[in-house]
Homo-oligomer: 141 residues x 2
DNA sequence: CTACATCCTCTAGCAACTAGAGGAGCAAGA
DNA sequence: TCTTGCTCCTCTAGTTGCTAGAGGATGTAG
């Protein structure tokens, strides 16, 4: 009903910036929408749904290639969804690893900052720890 | 004593790849080392320490510009170290924010995956949630 | 009639590297 | 002697996911 909106409206509705929408079209995430006689892109509800899907997935940190795979699955609803599950699981693993490595960094940074007496650089614990990795508790980085 | 090593050895000692060391020189993080008569870079202990400092800071997620500032402080040990402290604190805040947003993503991904019955894409919860943001508990992303 | 908004295309830039082309010098082995 | 292999050099272009800007067309409002 409301279909056929220009790119600016599509951007407002989906929260994706205008150049980014064009970029998604260029890399083939979004099928090229039809053009008006004045050569303007004209997006329908289906395009908007697709754009929202992309935005949501990007918000969850999925890479463009994963999103491409997820969209392909969405386009073929009779397929098994094991692939979608795998992509989501892989992303979950990534997120878990990232969280644990950031947690370690947090501890290191806190130790650094706590040790700093706010005097001269010569005695600054932040600089000292950076200069000498062996002063780190956590050896993973 | 052991000074004056070529770039390959410097790379091995510091754990930074050869092209990356050249890159750091190019962007001015590392002063251009002297060359041998055969035009080879020759790194001394001071360069190696600086490279290790950079590697450690990169490992902690500091951006190049922050590292530039930290190195400048290290080069002037009589200055106050408040600036170093501020850079570290800013990084800590970033890390904390990143952790909490990743924690939210983790919950969302887990909910998604738990809801998936591994049947057809048509009923796949992963795809459904991506397609409809309102099904998300967490509205931050 | 002019200002403003919206759209179009195309190119170039960001961070922080990484990969590859194309070339040189030197030592050890066949 | 020749070849293989290692290290080094410079330079350019690619990566990811956009973002910014140039330069131009068209429509509407005042």
């Amino acid at each position: 009903m409301t279909s056929a909106v220009p790119i600016g409206v599509a951007a407002r509705e989906t929260g994706i910036k205008v150049p980014t929408i064009r970029y998604y079209e260029k890399i083939g995430l979004l099928p090229p929408p039809p053009r008006t006689p004045r050569n303007r892109r004209s997006f329908d509800d289906c395009d908007l749904r697709r754009l929202k899907f992309i935005r949501h997935a990007r918000g969850l940190g999925f890479e463009i290639d994963s999103i491409r795979a997820l969209l392909l699955l969405q386009d073929n609803p009779d397929q098994s969804c094991i692939a979608a599950d795998q992509i989501a699981c892989a992303r979950l693993t990534e997120v878990e690893q990232r969280i644990s490595s950031l947690a370690a960094l947090k501890i290191e940074l806190e130790r650094m900052i706590a040790g700093c007496k706010r005097g001269h650089v010569r005695q600054c614990r932040v600089i000292q720890v950076l200069a000498d990795h062996s002063q780190c508790q956590n050896l993973r980085h």
